[in-house]
Protein backbone atom coordinates (compact mmCIF):
# COMPACT_ATOMS: atom_id res chain seq x y z
CA UNK A 1 0.00 0.00 0.00
CA UNK A 2 1.52 3.36 -0.99
CA UNK A 3 2.49 5.84 1.75
CA UNK A 4 0.98 9.28 1.46
CA UNK A 5 3.62 12.01 1.62
CA UNK A 6 3.05 15.70 2.19
CA UNK A 7 4.00 16.31 -1.44
CA UNK A 8 1.34 13.83 -2.59
CA UNK A 9 -1.24 15.76 -0.61
CA UNK A 10 -0.11 19.17 -1.85
CA UNK A 11 -0.24 17.96 -5.45
CA UNK A 12 -3.70 16.42 -4.92
CA UNK A 13 -5.01 19.57 -3.26
CA UNK A 14 -3.75 21.63 -6.18
CA UNK A 15 -5.46 19.34 -8.71
CA UNK A 16 -8.66 19.40 -6.67
CA UNK A 17 -8.49 23.20 -6.36
CA UNK A 18 -8.94 22.96 -2.62
CA UNK A 19 -7.02 24.92 0.00
CA UNK A 20 -6.67 22.48 2.89
CA UNK A 21 -3.18 23.47 4.07
CA UNK A 22 -4.16 24.32 7.63
CA UNK A 23 -5.67 20.87 8.21
CA UNK A 24 -3.06 18.89 6.29
CA UNK A 25 -2.42 16.20 8.97
CA UNK A 26 -6.16 15.45 9.26
CA UNK A 27 -6.65 15.05 5.51
CA UNK A 28 -3.41 13.07 5.17
CA UNK A 29 -4.67 10.62 7.81
CA UNK A 30 -8.09 10.42 6.17
CA UNK A 31 -6.56 9.60 2.80
CA UNK A 32 -4.35 6.95 4.40
CA UNK A 33 -7.40 5.43 6.15
CA UNK A 34 -9.32 5.23 2.89
CA UNK A 35 -6.43 3.60 1.05
CA UNK A 36 -6.18 1.03 3.82
CA UNK A 37 -9.94 0.40 3.58
CA UNK A 38 -9.83 -0.13 -0.20
CA UNK A 39 -6.64 -2.25 -0.15
CA UNK A 40 -8.60 -5.56 -0.40
CA UNK A 41 -9.74 -4.72 -3.95
CA UNK A 42 -6.11 -4.46 -5.02
CA UNK A 43 -5.55 -8.06 -3.90
CA UNK A 44 -8.14 -9.43 -6.34
CA UNK A 45 -6.66 -11.05 -9.42
CA UNK A 46 -8.64 -9.21 -12.07
CA UNK A 47 -6.06 -9.28 -14.89
CA UNK A 48 -8.50 -10.88 -17.30
CA UNK A 49 -11.56 -8.91 -16.21
CA UNK A 50 -12.89 -6.02 -18.29
CA UNK A 51 -13.55 -2.84 -16.31
CA UNK A 52 -17.27 -2.20 -16.02
CA UNK A 53 -17.53 1.10 -17.83
CA UNK A 54 -21.23 0.86 -18.65
CA UNK A 55 -24.05 -0.84 -16.81
CA UNK A 56 -26.27 -1.31 -19.84
CA UNK A 57 -25.08 -2.64 -23.15
CA UNK A 58 -25.95 0.33 -25.30
CA UNK A 59 -24.41 2.78 -27.71
CA UNK A 60 -24.85 6.53 -27.89
CA UNK A 61 -28.10 7.59 -29.49
CA UNK A 62 -27.78 10.00 -32.40
CA UNK A 63 -30.17 12.79 -33.29
CA UNK A 64 -30.64 14.94 -36.37
CA UNK A 65 -28.15 17.82 -36.58
CA UNK A 66 -30.80 20.50 -36.10
CA UNK A 67 -30.70 23.53 -33.82
CA UNK A 68 -33.20 22.95 -31.02
CA UNK A 69 -32.09 25.48 -28.39
CA UNK A 70 -32.38 29.26 -28.44
CA UNK A 71 -29.80 31.75 -27.18
CA UNK A 72 -30.58 32.07 -23.48
CA UNK A 73 -27.27 33.56 -22.37
CA UNK A 74 -28.71 36.38 -20.29
CA UNK A 75 -31.06 34.10 -18.44
CA UNK A 76 -28.37 31.48 -17.86
CA UNK A 77 -25.93 34.08 -16.57
CA UNK A 78 -28.25 35.24 -13.79
CA UNK A 79 -26.62 32.64 -11.51
CA UNK A 80 -23.11 34.00 -12.03
CA UNK A 81 -21.34 36.17 -9.45
CA UNK A 82 -19.90 38.67 -11.93
CA UNK A 83 -20.92 39.20 -15.55
CA UNK A 84 -20.50 42.07 -18.00
CA UNK A 85 -21.68 42.37 -21.60
CA UNK A 86 -22.28 38.64 -21.75
CA UNK A 87 -18.85 37.73 -20.37
CA UNK A 88 -18.15 35.96 -17.07
CA UNK A 89 -15.68 38.10 -15.09
CA UNK A 90 -12.72 36.55 -13.27
CA UNK A 91 -9.53 38.00 -11.74
CA UNK A 92 -6.91 38.91 -14.30
CA UNK A 93 -5.30 35.80 -15.75
CA UNK A 94 -2.87 37.18 -18.33
CA UNK A 95 -0.78 40.17 -17.27
CA UNK A 96 -0.15 42.78 -19.95
CA UNK A 97 2.49 45.56 -19.88
CA UNK A 98 -0.29 47.96 -18.97
CA UNK A 99 -1.42 45.95 -15.95
CA UNK A 100 2.14 45.19 -14.85
CA UNK A 101 2.92 48.89 -14.80
Amino acid sequence: MPTITENDLIKTMHLAQLDLAKDMPIYKQHLADVLEFVAPICEVDAKNVEPMLYIQDFSLRLRADNITESNQRDMLQTSAAHVEDGFYLVPEVIKTCETEN
Binding site: L20, I41, L53, Q56, A80, P91
Partner: protein, 482 residues
Protein backbone atom coordinates in the same frame (compact mmCIF):
# COMPACT_ATOMS: atom_id res chain seq x y z
CA UNK B 1 -55.97 13.13 5.22
CA UNK B 2 -52.36 12.44 6.27
CA UNK B 3 -53.14 8.81 7.03
CA UNK B 4 -54.55 8.25 3.54
CA UNK B 5 -52.36 6.64 0.90
CA UNK B 6 -52.04 8.26 -2.51
CA UNK B 7 -54.48 5.74 -3.96
CA UNK B 8 -57.00 6.79 -1.29
CA UNK B 9 -56.32 10.51 -1.76
CA UNK B 10 -56.96 10.13 -5.50
CA UNK B 11 -60.30 8.51 -4.72
CA UNK B 12 -61.16 11.28 -2.24
CA UNK B 13 -60.38 14.02 -4.76
CA UNK B 14 -62.40 12.33 -7.51
CA UNK B 15 -65.40 11.91 -5.23
CA UNK B 16 -65.00 15.56 -4.13
CA UNK B 17 -64.57 14.70 -0.46
CA UNK B 18 -62.31 17.73 -0.44
CA UNK B 19 -60.57 19.90 -3.02
CA UNK B 20 -56.91 19.90 -4.06
CA UNK B 21 -56.63 23.33 -2.47
CA UNK B 22 -57.90 21.97 0.87
CA UNK B 23 -55.58 18.97 0.63
CA UNK B 24 -52.55 21.13 -0.10
CA UNK B 25 -53.39 23.58 2.66
CA UNK B 26 -53.74 20.65 5.06
CA UNK B 27 -50.26 19.29 4.32
CA UNK B 28 -48.68 22.75 4.35
CA UNK B 29 -50.15 23.26 7.84
CA UNK B 30 -48.71 19.93 8.96
CA UNK B 31 -45.29 20.85 7.61
CA UNK B 32 -45.32 24.19 9.44
CA UNK B 33 -46.49 22.47 12.60
CA UNK B 34 -44.08 19.52 12.69
CA UNK B 35 -41.05 20.39 10.66
CA UNK B 36 -39.43 22.57 13.33
CA UNK B 37 -38.62 19.31 15.15
CA UNK B 38 -37.59 17.35 12.06
CA UNK B 39 -35.82 19.91 9.85
CA UNK B 40 -36.82 17.79 6.85
CA UNK B 41 -37.47 20.74 4.51
CA UNK B 42 -34.98 23.29 3.17
CA UNK B 43 -37.52 25.28 1.11
CA UNK B 44 -41.27 25.40 1.50
CA UNK B 45 -42.98 26.49 -1.71
CA UNK B 46 -46.28 27.57 -0.20
CA UNK B 47 -47.46 30.12 -2.78
CA UNK B 48 -46.39 27.92 -5.68
CA UNK B 49 -48.15 24.94 -4.14
CA UNK B 50 -51.43 26.80 -3.66
CA UNK B 51 -51.27 28.06 -7.24
CA UNK B 52 -50.74 24.50 -8.51
CA UNK B 53 -53.49 23.19 -6.26
CA UNK B 54 -55.99 25.69 -7.67
CA UNK B 55 -54.94 24.72 -11.17
CA UNK B 56 -55.39 21.05 -10.24
CA UNK B 57 -58.94 21.74 -9.04
CA UNK B 58 -59.68 23.44 -12.37
CA UNK B 59 -58.28 20.46 -14.30
CA UNK B 60 -60.40 18.01 -12.34
CA UNK B 61 -63.51 20.14 -12.91
CA UNK B 62 -62.80 20.31 -16.65
CA UNK B 63 -62.10 16.58 -16.79
CA UNK B 64 -58.51 17.21 -17.90
CA UNK B 65 -56.86 15.62 -14.89
CA UNK B 66 -54.37 12.76 -14.83
CA UNK B 67 -54.33 10.09 -12.17
CA UNK B 68 -51.96 12.11 -9.98
CA UNK B 69 -53.49 15.57 -10.42
CA UNK B 70 -53.67 17.39 -7.11
CA UNK B 71 -51.52 14.96 -5.12
CA UNK B 72 -48.86 16.70 -3.01
CA UNK B 73 -45.18 15.77 -3.36
CA UNK B 74 -41.83 17.01 -2.09
CA UNK B 75 -38.60 16.86 -4.08
CA UNK B 76 -35.16 16.11 -2.70
CA UNK B 77 -33.16 19.31 -3.00
CA UNK B 78 -30.83 18.00 -5.69
CA UNK B 79 -33.56 17.90 -8.34
CA UNK B 80 -33.50 21.16 -10.29
CA UNK B 81 -36.77 23.04 -9.97
CA UNK B 82 -37.20 25.94 -12.36
CA UNK B 83 -37.27 29.29 -10.58
CA UNK B 84 -37.06 27.62 -7.16
CA UNK B 85 -33.86 27.39 -5.13
CA UNK B 86 -32.00 24.09 -5.44
CA UNK B 87 -29.21 23.97 -2.92
CA UNK B 88 -28.04 20.35 -2.67
CA UNK B 89 -27.95 21.24 1.05
CA UNK B 90 -24.70 23.10 0.41
CA UNK B 91 -23.40 26.62 0.96
CA UNK B 92 -21.97 26.23 -2.54
CA UNK B 93 -25.49 26.39 -4.03
CA UNK B 94 -27.22 28.42 -1.33
CA UNK B 95 -28.52 30.93 -3.87
CA UNK B 96 -28.78 28.75 -6.95
CA UNK B 97 -32.04 29.16 -8.86
CA UNK B 98 -32.15 26.64 -11.72
CA UNK B 99 -33.46 27.84 -15.08
CA UNK B 100 -35.07 24.46 -15.82
CA UNK B 101 -36.83 21.49 -14.22
CA UNK B 102 -35.23 18.09 -13.81
CA UNK B 103 -37.03 15.55 -16.01
CA UNK B 104 -38.44 13.80 -12.91
CA UNK B 105 -39.85 17.13 -11.67
CA UNK B 106 -41.15 18.11 -15.11
CA UNK B 107 -42.96 14.80 -15.64
CA UNK B 108 -44.65 15.03 -12.24
CA UNK B 109 -45.57 18.70 -12.83
CA UNK B 110 -47.12 17.67 -16.16
CA UNK B 111 -49.01 14.96 -14.26
CA UNK B 112 -50.48 17.68 -12.07
CA UNK B 113 -48.71 16.85 -8.82
CA UNK B 114 -48.41 19.72 -6.35
CA UNK B 115 -44.87 20.41 -5.11
CA UNK B 116 -44.88 21.43 -1.44
CA UNK B 117 -41.17 22.08 -1.15
CA UNK B 118 -37.57 20.84 -1.34
CA UNK B 119 -36.35 18.36 1.21
CA UNK B 120 -33.19 18.34 3.25
CA UNK B 121 -30.38 15.93 2.44
CA UNK B 122 -26.72 15.22 3.06
CA UNK B 123 -24.62 17.80 1.23
CA UNK B 124 -24.34 16.82 -2.44
CA UNK B 125 -25.83 13.46 -1.45
CA UNK B 126 -22.63 12.52 0.38
CA UNK B 127 -23.49 10.86 3.62
CA UNK B 128 -25.60 8.18 5.25
CA UNK B 129 -26.98 10.07 8.25
CA UNK B 130 -28.21 13.44 6.91
CA UNK B 131 -25.80 15.19 9.29
CA UNK B 132 -23.64 16.80 6.62
CA UNK B 133 -26.30 19.24 5.41
CA UNK B 134 -25.41 22.96 5.47
CA UNK B 135 -28.94 23.45 6.81
CA UNK B 136 -28.53 21.19 9.81
CA UNK B 137 -29.29 17.54 10.35
CA UNK B 138 -32.64 15.87 9.86
CA UNK B 139 -34.19 14.26 12.93
CA UNK B 140 -35.85 10.87 12.88
CA UNK B 141 -39.59 11.25 13.64
CA UNK B 142 -39.51 7.96 15.60
CA UNK B 143 -36.98 9.45 17.99
CA UNK B 144 -35.67 12.94 17.34
CA UNK B 145 -32.37 12.15 19.06
CA UNK B 146 -31.69 9.69 16.26
CA UNK B 147 -30.54 10.24 12.70
CA UNK B 148 -33.01 9.93 9.86
CA UNK B 149 -30.41 8.25 7.70
CA UNK B 150 -29.22 9.74 4.42
CA UNK B 151 -28.70 11.10 2.07
CA UNK B 152 -32.46 11.34 1.28
CA UNK B 153 -33.15 11.86 4.99
CA UNK B 154 -35.47 14.82 4.56
CA UNK B 155 -37.71 12.95 2.11
CA UNK B 156 -37.83 9.84 4.31
CA UNK B 157 -38.49 11.75 7.54
CA UNK B 158 -41.19 13.88 5.92
CA UNK B 159 -43.03 10.84 4.58
CA UNK B 160 -42.64 8.96 7.89
CA UNK B 161 -44.10 11.92 9.81
CA UNK B 162 -46.92 12.03 7.28
CA UNK B 163 -46.27 15.66 6.40
CA UNK B 164 -46.09 14.70 2.72
CA UNK B 165 -47.54 11.55 1.12
CA UNK B 166 -44.66 10.93 -1.28
CA UNK B 167 -41.25 12.37 -2.09
CA UNK B 168 -38.47 11.95 -4.57
CA UNK B 169 -35.04 10.78 -3.51
CA UNK B 170 -31.74 9.77 -5.02
CA UNK B 171 -29.67 6.69 -4.32
CA UNK B 172 -25.95 6.35 -5.04
CA UNK B 173 -24.92 3.84 -2.35
CA UNK B 174 -28.19 3.39 -0.47
CA UNK B 175 -29.45 6.93 -0.04
CA UNK B 176 -33.12 6.08 -0.60
CA UNK B 177 -33.25 2.66 1.02
CA UNK B 178 -31.17 3.40 4.12
CA UNK B 179 -33.27 6.36 5.37
CA UNK B 180 -36.41 4.37 4.49
CA UNK B 181 -35.20 1.57 6.76
CA UNK B 182 -34.38 4.05 9.54
CA UNK B 183 -37.68 5.92 9.20
CA UNK B 184 -40.04 3.01 8.56
CA UNK B 185 -41.20 3.91 5.05
CA UNK B 186 -41.00 2.36 1.58
CA UNK B 187 -38.37 3.43 -0.94
CA UNK B 188 -37.46 2.29 -4.43
CA UNK B 189 -34.21 2.64 -6.33
CA UNK B 190 -35.02 1.66 -9.93
CA UNK B 191 -32.72 0.02 -12.47
CA UNK B 192 -29.98 2.33 -13.73
CA UNK B 193 -31.34 3.87 -16.91
CA UNK B 194 -35.02 3.40 -15.99
CA UNK B 195 -35.49 6.96 -14.68
CA UNK B 196 -33.82 10.05 -16.12
CA UNK B 197 -31.02 11.77 -14.21
CA UNK B 198 -31.35 14.97 -16.27
CA UNK B 199 -31.50 17.90 -13.88
CA UNK B 200 -30.43 15.77 -10.92
CA UNK B 201 -27.28 17.46 -9.62
CA UNK B 202 -24.64 14.80 -10.14
CA UNK B 203 -22.65 13.06 -7.43
CA UNK B 204 -21.31 9.87 -9.07
CA UNK B 205 -22.80 9.54 -12.53
CA UNK B 206 -22.43 5.78 -13.03
CA UNK B 207 -24.14 4.93 -9.73
CA UNK B 208 -26.60 7.81 -9.16
CA UNK B 209 -30.25 6.75 -9.40
CA UNK B 210 -33.45 8.80 -9.07
CA UNK B 211 -36.22 7.14 -7.07
CA UNK B 212 -39.24 7.46 -4.80
CA UNK B 213 -40.14 7.29 -1.11
CA UNK B 214 -43.76 6.70 -0.06
CA UNK B 215 -46.09 5.14 2.50
CA UNK B 216 -46.26 1.86 0.60
CA UNK B 217 -45.24 0.00 -2.55
CA UNK B 218 -48.58 0.66 -4.30
CA UNK B 219 -48.14 4.44 -4.03
CA UNK B 220 -44.54 4.19 -5.25
CA UNK B 221 -45.72 2.14 -8.25
CA UNK B 222 -48.42 4.73 -9.08
CA UNK B 223 -45.85 7.53 -9.29
CA UNK B 224 -43.13 5.41 -10.94
CA UNK B 225 -45.52 5.00 -13.89
CA UNK B 226 -45.10 8.71 -14.57
CA UNK B 227 -41.35 9.18 -14.11
CA UNK B 228 -39.96 6.02 -15.72
CA UNK B 229 -38.98 5.93 -19.35
CA UNK B 230 -36.49 7.14 -21.90
CA UNK B 231 -35.45 10.77 -21.87
CA UNK B 232 -33.78 12.47 -24.83
CA UNK B 233 -31.83 14.65 -22.39
CA UNK B 234 -30.21 11.64 -20.65
CA UNK B 235 -28.46 9.23 -22.97
CA UNK B 236 -28.12 6.64 -20.19
CA UNK B 237 -31.89 6.14 -20.11
CA UNK B 238 -32.97 3.04 -21.91
CA UNK B 239 -35.49 2.72 -24.77
CA UNK B 240 -37.14 -0.30 -23.13
CA UNK B 241 -40.94 0.18 -22.84
CA UNK B 242 -42.30 1.05 -19.41
CA UNK B 243 -44.88 -1.47 -18.13
CA UNK B 244 -47.88 -0.41 -16.03
CA UNK B 245 -46.49 -1.14 -12.57
CA UNK B 246 -50.02 -1.36 -11.12
CA UNK B 247 -51.19 -4.01 -13.59
CA UNK B 248 -49.12 -6.79 -12.01
CA UNK B 249 -48.85 -5.49 -8.46
CA UNK B 250 -51.49 -7.88 -7.10
CA UNK B 251 -50.12 -10.97 -8.87
CA UNK B 252 -49.72 -14.10 -6.79
CA UNK B 253 -46.20 -14.83 -5.53
CA UNK B 254 -46.83 -18.56 -5.29
CA UNK B 255 -43.67 -20.27 -6.54
CA UNK B 256 -41.55 -17.11 -6.33
CA UNK B 257 -37.92 -18.08 -5.83
CA UNK B 258 -36.24 -15.91 -3.20
CA UNK B 259 -32.49 -15.94 -2.69
CA UNK B 260 -30.99 -15.22 0.73
CA UNK B 261 -27.25 -14.55 0.44
CA UNK B 262 -25.30 -16.39 3.10
CA UNK B 263 -22.88 -13.45 3.27
CA UNK B 264 -25.74 -11.21 4.53
CA UNK B 265 -26.31 -13.46 7.53
CA UNK B 266 -22.73 -13.51 8.81
CA UNK B 267 -22.60 -11.56 12.09
CA UNK B 268 -26.10 -10.14 11.49
CA UNK B 269 -27.59 -8.56 14.61
CA UNK B 270 -29.91 -11.11 16.22
CA UNK B 271 -32.86 -8.73 16.64
CA UNK B 272 -32.63 -7.56 13.02
CA UNK B 273 -32.33 -11.16 11.87
CA UNK B 274 -35.47 -12.05 13.76
CA UNK B 275 -37.50 -9.37 11.93
CA UNK B 276 -36.16 -10.58 8.57
CA UNK B 277 -36.99 -14.20 9.47
CA UNK B 278 -40.55 -13.18 10.36
CA UNK B 279 -40.89 -11.37 7.03
CA UNK B 280 -39.61 -14.44 5.18
CA UNK B 281 -42.24 -16.57 6.96
CA UNK B 282 -44.99 -14.26 5.67
CA UNK B 283 -43.70 -14.58 2.13
CA UNK B 284 -43.44 -18.36 2.46
CA UNK B 285 -47.07 -18.51 3.64
CA UNK B 286 -47.96 -16.96 0.27
CA UNK B 287 -46.09 -19.72 -1.56
CA UNK B 288 -42.65 -18.19 -2.04
CA UNK B 289 -39.66 -20.51 -1.76
CA UNK B 290 -36.48 -19.32 -0.07
CA UNK B 291 -33.06 -20.75 -0.85
CA UNK B 292 -29.59 -19.82 0.24
CA UNK B 293 -27.35 -18.26 -2.42
CA UNK B 294 -23.86 -16.85 -2.42
CA UNK B 295 -22.50 -13.48 -3.53
CA UNK B 296 -18.77 -14.15 -3.06
CA UNK B 297 -17.60 -10.63 -3.93
CA UNK B 298 -20.25 -8.92 -1.79
CA UNK B 299 -17.72 -7.84 0.87
CA UNK B 300 -15.79 -5.80 -1.69
CA UNK B 301 -18.77 -3.62 -2.59
CA UNK B 302 -17.99 -0.93 0.00
CA UNK B 303 -14.27 -0.68 -0.91
CA UNK B 304 -15.18 -0.50 -4.61
CA UNK B 305 -17.72 2.23 -3.83
CA UNK B 306 -15.09 4.03 -1.75
CA UNK B 307 -13.02 4.41 -4.94
CA UNK B 308 -15.65 4.92 -7.64
CA UNK B 309 -17.95 7.37 -5.81
CA UNK B 310 -15.21 9.86 -4.79
CA UNK B 311 -13.50 9.54 -8.19
CA UNK B 312 -16.67 10.40 -10.06
CA UNK B 313 -17.67 13.09 -7.56
CA UNK B 314 -14.30 14.81 -7.91
CA UNK B 315 -14.99 15.07 -11.64
CA UNK B 316 -18.63 16.16 -11.29
CA UNK B 317 -17.91 18.79 -8.64
CA UNK B 318 -15.04 20.33 -10.61
CA UNK B 319 -17.66 22.56 -12.25
CA UNK B 320 -18.14 24.48 -8.98
CA UNK B 321 -15.41 27.09 -9.27
CA UNK B 322 -17.13 30.35 -8.32
CA UNK B 323 -17.45 31.56 -11.92
CA UNK B 324 -20.68 30.54 -13.63
CA UNK B 325 -22.85 29.67 -10.61
CA UNK B 326 -22.57 28.83 -6.97
CA UNK B 327 -20.63 30.37 -4.13
CA UNK B 328 -17.89 32.80 -5.11
CA UNK B 329 -15.32 33.96 -2.55
CA UNK B 330 -14.85 37.66 -1.76
CA UNK B 331 -11.92 39.64 -3.19
CA UNK B 332 -9.95 36.84 -4.83
CA UNK B 333 -6.26 37.66 -5.26
CA UNK B 334 -6.00 35.80 -8.57
CA UNK B 335 -7.75 33.07 -10.57
CA UNK B 336 -6.27 30.21 -8.50
CA UNK B 337 -7.39 31.93 -5.32
CA UNK B 338 -10.89 32.36 -6.78
CA UNK B 339 -11.14 28.64 -7.54
CA UNK B 340 -9.59 27.23 -4.37
CA UNK B 341 -11.16 29.63 -1.88
CA UNK B 342 -14.61 29.42 -3.48
CA UNK B 343 -14.45 25.65 -3.30
CA UNK B 344 -12.84 25.43 0.15
CA UNK B 345 -15.31 27.91 1.64
CA UNK B 346 -18.34 26.66 -0.32
CA UNK B 347 -18.06 22.91 0.30
CA UNK B 348 -18.48 21.16 3.65
CA UNK B 349 -15.93 18.80 5.19
CA UNK B 350 -17.36 15.51 3.90
CA UNK B 351 -17.54 16.83 0.35
CA UNK B 352 -13.95 18.09 0.51
CA UNK B 353 -12.76 14.74 1.88
CA UNK B 354 -14.41 12.85 -0.97
CA UNK B 355 -13.11 15.22 -3.65
CA UNK B 356 -9.63 14.79 -2.23
CA UNK B 357 -9.84 10.98 -2.26
CA UNK B 358 -11.32 10.99 -5.75
CA UNK B 359 -8.66 13.30 -7.09
CA UNK B 360 -5.93 11.17 -5.53
CA UNK B 361 -7.16 7.86 -6.98
CA UNK B 362 -7.61 9.34 -10.44
CA UNK B 363 -4.23 11.07 -10.52
CA UNK B 364 -2.13 8.26 -9.05
CA UNK B 365 -2.16 5.27 -11.37
CA UNK B 366 1.11 3.68 -10.28
CA UNK B 367 1.76 1.39 -8.60
CA UNK B 368 -2.00 0.86 -8.40
CA UNK B 369 -4.63 2.12 -10.83
CA UNK B 370 -7.37 2.26 -8.23
CA UNK B 371 -10.23 3.35 -10.48
CA UNK B 372 -9.56 0.72 -13.13
CA UNK B 373 -9.16 -2.03 -10.51
CA UNK B 374 -12.36 -0.91 -8.78
CA UNK B 375 -14.27 -1.07 -12.09
CA UNK B 376 -12.96 -4.59 -12.68
CA UNK B 377 -14.04 -5.78 -9.23
CA UNK B 378 -17.36 -4.00 -9.88
CA UNK B 379 -17.86 -6.35 -12.82
CA UNK B 380 -17.15 -9.36 -10.59
CA UNK B 381 -19.74 -8.11 -8.05
CA UNK B 382 -22.26 -7.66 -10.87
CA UNK B 383 -21.58 -11.14 -12.25
CA UNK B 384 -22.36 -12.58 -8.81
CA UNK B 385 -25.86 -11.10 -9.13
CA UNK B 386 -26.29 -12.27 -12.73
CA UNK B 387 -25.36 -15.81 -11.67
CA UNK B 388 -27.77 -15.63 -8.74
CA UNK B 389 -30.66 -14.54 -10.96
CA UNK B 390 -30.24 -17.77 -12.96
CA UNK B 391 -31.50 -19.56 -9.83
CA UNK B 392 -33.80 -17.05 -8.09
CA UNK B 393 -36.31 -14.34 -8.99
CA UNK B 394 -35.44 -11.85 -6.25
CA UNK B 395 -32.78 -11.48 -3.59
CA UNK B 396 -33.84 -10.65 -0.03
CA UNK B 397 -31.99 -9.34 2.98
CA UNK B 398 -31.94 -6.59 5.59
CA UNK B 399 -31.68 -3.05 4.23
CA UNK B 400 -29.37 -1.94 7.06
CA UNK B 401 -27.40 -3.97 9.63
CA UNK B 402 -28.91 -1.98 12.51
CA UNK B 403 -31.66 0.59 13.09
CA UNK B 404 -31.00 4.34 13.42
CA UNK B 405 -28.41 5.59 15.91
CA UNK B 406 -27.80 8.78 17.83
CA UNK B 407 -27.08 12.07 16.10
CA UNK B 408 -23.42 13.18 16.38
CA UNK B 409 -22.20 9.71 17.26
CA UNK B 410 -18.69 10.62 16.13
CA UNK B 411 -17.00 7.94 18.18
CA UNK B 412 -18.65 5.19 16.20
CA UNK B 413 -17.80 6.30 12.66
CA UNK B 414 -16.98 2.68 11.78
CA UNK B 415 -20.61 1.63 12.35
CA UNK B 416 -21.78 4.53 10.25
CA UNK B 417 -19.48 3.64 7.38
CA UNK B 418 -20.93 0.15 7.31
CA UNK B 419 -24.58 1.24 7.25
CA UNK B 420 -24.49 0.93 3.44
CA UNK B 421 -23.13 -2.63 3.53
CA UNK B 422 -26.29 -4.26 2.10
CA UNK B 423 -27.32 -1.50 -0.28
CA UNK B 424 -24.18 -0.49 -2.18
CA UNK B 425 -23.73 -3.59 -4.35
CA UNK B 426 -27.03 -3.07 -6.18
CA UNK B 427 -25.93 0.48 -7.08
CA UNK B 428 -22.68 -0.83 -8.53
CA UNK B 429 -24.59 -3.42 -10.56
CA UNK B 430 -27.41 -0.99 -11.46
CA UNK B 431 -30.10 -3.41 -10.22
CA UNK B 432 -33.50 -2.27 -8.91
CA UNK B 433 -34.05 -2.54 -5.17
CA UNK B 434 -36.79 -1.61 -2.72
CA UNK B 435 -36.83 -1.25 1.06
CA UNK B 436 -40.01 -1.96 3.02
CA UNK B 437 -40.50 -1.70 6.80
CA UNK B 438 -40.61 -5.11 8.52
CA UNK B 439 -40.73 -4.31 12.20
CA UNK B 440 -38.97 -2.61 15.05
CA UNK B 441 -35.70 -3.13 16.89
CA UNK B 442 -35.26 -1.16 20.13
CA UNK B 443 -38.44 0.77 19.23
CA UNK B 444 -36.93 1.92 15.94
CA UNK B 445 -38.01 0.80 12.47
CA UNK B 446 -35.96 -1.63 10.40
CA UNK B 447 -36.33 -2.45 6.72
CA UNK B 448 -36.10 -5.44 4.43
CA UNK B 449 -34.54 -5.06 1.00
CA UNK B 450 -35.70 -6.83 -2.15
CA UNK B 451 -33.35 -6.74 -5.13
CA UNK B 452 -34.63 -7.61 -8.58
CA UNK B 453 -33.07 -8.39 -11.92
CA UNK B 454 -32.61 -5.60 -14.46
CA UNK B 455 -35.89 -3.79 -15.19
CA UNK B 456 -37.80 -6.04 -12.75
CA UNK B 457 -39.30 -3.12 -10.81
CA UNK B 458 -42.75 -4.64 -11.40
CA UNK B 459 -41.66 -7.88 -9.69
CA UNK B 460 -40.15 -6.30 -6.57
CA UNK B 461 -43.09 -3.88 -6.26
CA UNK B 462 -45.43 -6.86 -6.55
CA UNK B 463 -43.65 -8.78 -3.78
CA UNK B 464 -43.43 -5.68 -1.57
CA UNK B 465 -47.13 -4.94 -2.08
CA UNK B 466 -48.21 -8.54 -1.37
CA UNK B 467 -46.14 -8.43 1.83
CA UNK B 468 -47.78 -5.13 2.81
CA UNK B 469 -51.22 -6.62 2.25
CA UNK B 470 -50.61 -9.14 5.06
CA UNK B 471 -48.64 -6.91 7.45
CA UNK B 472 -49.13 -3.40 8.78
CA UNK B 473 -45.60 -2.15 9.56
CA UNK B 474 -45.96 0.40 6.76
CA UNK B 475 -49.09 1.81 8.39
CA UNK B 476 -47.37 2.64 11.68
CA UNK B 477 -46.99 6.34 12.41
CA UNK B 478 -44.59 7.77 15.00
CA UNK B 479 -46.18 9.11 18.18
CA UNK B 480 -46.94 12.79 17.96
CA UNK B 481 -47.54 12.68 14.22
CA UNK B 482 -50.71 10.59 14.25
Amino acid sequence: MHRRSIAELIQDLRTKKYSCEELTRYFLRRIKSFDKKLNSFITLTEEYAMQKARLADKCIKQDKATFLTGIPIAHKDLFCTKGIKTSCASKMLENFIPPYNATVVERLEQAGMVMLGKTNMDEFAMGATNETSYYGCVHNPWNIQMVSGGSSGGSAAAVAARIVPIATGSDTGGSIRLPCSFCGVTGLKPTYGRVSRFGMIAFASSIDHAGLIGYNAYDVALVLNFIAGMDGHDFTTVEKPVPDYIETINDSINGLRIGLPREYLENLDVAVGLQIDTAITELEKMGAKVQEISLPYFKLALPVYAVIAPAECSSNLARFDGVRYGYSCKEPLNIEDLYSRSRSEGFGEEVKRRILVGTYVLSNKKPINYYEQAQKVRRLITEDFIQAFNKVDIILGPTTPLPAYQIAQQAEKVKINFSDVFTTASNLAGLPAISVPVGFVDSLPIGMQLIGNYFAEAKILNVAHRYQQVTDWHKQTPEGYC
